[in-house]
């Protein structure tokens, strides 16, 4: 029998004692009543007028007049009812009574007016139609306001559901210069603290709506996707996912599903679109656009690169967005039809590739993995498909900044775009990406032309029953002209730890899910 020295016995005891404390240390600080959600970046100070803080955290702290419900249904928020005047130039809101901000300040017509005047009529927010057309606000009693506009804004109600700056801040939460000093809203959660590592929210027990079943949310900053997945596996996080919260790749979701985590995936609200440069001589040729449109196997991309967590589409908006229009059938990939389109456009194939008037069928495909994660692999798959058709596809892989310089200058033949998604669409993407006269800075345009401008502007200005037909007019115009090449709608993917029950996705990707959840 081996002999142990006194020193060895002491060392072994010390090591055993140390190791036995580790599990308790790791799991210290119990989490029974706390939902732990991963966020990819710190929330910031949630200033409603600055474009800095993470979009996903506003909606749990601040309320708007109107909430964006599933499928784009407008639900009462701090306004219980609203009436648009017949001429469309004023909107009257009945405000919810008895609501207080989490610091105790009452929410009434005066505070609502003060809040709206912080951004309506202010130049920095002229991209919001209702802010641009703003004339005045009148209060009628403690719980009614009327917003008067210089012209009708058909998307006004939808605009009041966006993340910022439309939500309401306590008038006590600003400094002497009127700048937001702390994030105090009327929402279901109160910001207890925030740092670069985490933001802690506590339940607002005076919330006017349904009270959450647990009292605390910890938003943990975990920038790395693998680290988030491992933390979920280890039980250190309860929920990960959401494009604007903490993105989860399809491949990782599949892996987590096989390890006992619940994967919740629902159709997304944003479409991935291949844009043809309207300034490219090559892409001005309709036959070339058709050949690209028909030469891509959308179903294969959805299945292979997205593990089935994407839905092929040839429409600009998915049905999860209001007035998305009539669906068009997604064509099966047809190389012969694509080549026929090229032939009809005067291109001829040969041993050294397709040519027309001495020009080779060669396109520049601008890709930025940084600005659109996963795009490089999609581009390579499309490159292979189009090569079979007869194209020579050169992929220009650039960083985000170069993408933001080249895209607005149309320095490409093909590149990726994505629509904004709910609650910004359809008006947001149509106005920004398809109208030539709107300056959208680095985002660029999916497609613009002098013929398209009046069609889109008419749709953006249409209201009531005319709106749906006008929107359909835009979709039909784009489809008939093969002006853009929609590819697919990626699904919204979340992974949930088994201790969380009743998980369902909120209406938009900008919301953190907490409603209806119970914690085990």
């Amino acid at each position: 029998m081996p002999k142990l020295s006194r020193r060895q016995v002491m060392a072994s005891s010390a090591a055993f004692s140390f190791l036995s404390t580790l599990p308790h240390i790791a799991l210290a600080g119990g989490h029974g009543d706390t939902l732990r959600v991963a966020i990819a970046g710190e929330t910031g100070d949630l200033d409603l007028l600055q474009n800095v803080s993470t979009l996903s955290s506003y909606t749990v702290v601040f309320d708007g007049l109107i909430h964006y419900g599933p499928g784009g249904v407008l639900e009462p928020g701090l306004a219980t009812a609203w009436t648009i005047a017949e001429d469309g130039k004023s909107i009257a809101f009945d405000l919810r009574e008895g609501v207080t901000f989490s610091d105790g300040a009452p929410f009434d017509a005066e505070t609502a007016k003060w809040n709206l005047e912080r951004w309506m009529g202010v130049g920095d927010f002229s991209w919001i139609g209702i802010a641009d057309a703003y004339e005045s606000i009148e209060t009628s009693g403690p719980n009614q306001i009327t917003v008067r506009l210089s012209r009708p804004v058909p998307a006004a109600l939808l605009e009041l559901t966006i993340v910022r700056p439309v939500r309401f801040l306590s008038p006590n939460a600003v400094d002497a210069d009127g700048k937001q000093a702390s994030p105090v809203g009327t929402g279901p959660w109160i910001v207890e603290s925030y740092s670069s590592s985490e933001t802690v929210l506590t339940r607002n027990d005076n919330y006017w709506g349904e009270r959450p079943s647990f009292s605390r949310i910890e938003l943990k900053v975990v920038p790395d996707e693998l680290a988030r997945a491992n933390a979920l596996r280890a039980g250190e996080l309860d929920v990960i996912g959401g494009d604007w919260v903490a993105p989860l790749s399809p491949r990782r979701a599949k892996a987590l599903e096989g390890e006992g985590m619940t994967i919740v995936a629902e159709p997304g609200t944003a479409t991935t679109i291949l844009g043809y440069s309207p300034k490219s001589p090559m892409m001005q040729n309709r036959g070339v656009r058709e050949a690209v449109f028909l030469g891509i196997d959308r179903a294969a991309i959805a299945q292979v690169l997205f593990e089935g967590f994407a839905d092929p589409s040839v429409d600009i908006f998915p049905t999860t967005v209001p007035t998305a229009g009539v669906r068009h059938a997604v064509p099966a990939r047809d190389v012969a039809a694509a080549q026929a389109a090229l032939s009809a456009a005067g291109w001829s194939g040969g041993g050294s590739g397709w040519t027309k008037g001495g020009d080779a069928l060669e396109i520049d495909f601008l890709v930025s993995e940084e600005s659109f994660p996963g795009s490089r692999r999609i581009a390579e798959m499309i490159q292979a498909m189009l090569t079979e058709v007869g194209f020579k596809v050169d992929i220009s892989s650039v960083d985000n900044a170069t993408m933001h310089e080249r895209r607005p200058n149309f320095e490409y033949d093909l590149t990726f775009f994505a629509t904004y998604g709910a609650p910004y669409d359809p008006h947001g993407s149509l106005g920004a990406s398809f109208v030539s006269t709107v300056d959208t800075g680095p985002d660029g345009k999916i497609y613009i032309s002098d013929e398209l401008d009046p069609v889109v502007l008419a749709a953006l200005e249409a209201s009531g029953d005319a709106q749906e037909a006008a929107m359909q007019g835009v979709y039909d115009w784009l489809y008939d002209a093969v002006a853009a090449c929609p590819l697919l709608v990626t699904q919204r993917i979340w992974a949930v730890h088994p201790r969380v029950q009743g998980f369902s996705l909120p209406a938009t990707d900008y919301d953190i899910p907490y409603k209806g959840l119970t914690l085990g």
Partner: protein, 313 residues
Amino acid sequence: MRRMFLRRAGLALLLMLAATALTFALVTAAPGNVAALIAERAAGPGADGEMIARIADELGLNDPLPVRYVRWLGDTFTGDFGVSLRTGKPISEEFAERIPVTATLLAGGGMLALFYSLGLGLWGATSNGRFADRILHGIALIGASTPNFFVAALLVIVFAVGLGWIPSFGLYGWTSWILPCVTIALFPGSVLARVVRVNLQEAMARPFATTGFAKGMNRGEVLVREALPNIAIPYITTFGAQFTLMIIGAIVVERLFGLNGIGAFFIEAIRFRDFVGMQAVLTLFVVFFVSVNLFVDLVAMLVDPRLRRARRA
């Protein structure tokens, strides 16, 4: 000695100036438009060409590069690193929050690398050429060839996901430092272990080692008392080089373990084209590199009188 220190410090200062000028030029030449980013932050989708041009003018972005560098240098000397384009917070506040995290990681990693390398190197030298020596050689080789992101994933899967002993991310007590420090220490520790092992082998063939054996010392005693002090200079200089390189490892390790240090801030600054943040962190890196090397030079001179005499000559 004092004159030598002052001369070395002066050279270090010149080196810092040259390095910051170079990084300033490189960051400025990188694609992207600072004014566009600031405009986008202020007005979101409302940022237009006119607003971008106004901001560029206000910030003096149209001035010649040397003018901008001198202005930036003046601000930096007064502790004003500017405001982060990504977070909207002053960089000095970001540094105050994040430097302690990175400093703790580097200190922990440095200590581990020190003990690991000396332990492994000495053990290898005491079991010279035997099976244990070969195994330790293999361990050091694997440690020096395994990328830290792989090591991090492996450690997390075993100790956080599998055993549940240690948190996989963030800072929740001292146990949170174990995996990041081990990850960041493995590569430099393994390189240093080889330095110790190889230099000890050479030292053991020198006459003073033979004299030690002649005096009746055993192999262990000769290693520790005679050979080890003689490898101090190569060890200290290599340790200094490896320690400065650990800051590169910190960039990856902090992100993988959700630690909000300087490395994580730097990665996000690059991703979001936060030029102000990038330049501030690069300046910090320059100061760190130059200071550590200066410190190592001074320690080496203090330890070895021959170096002092050589410098004087």
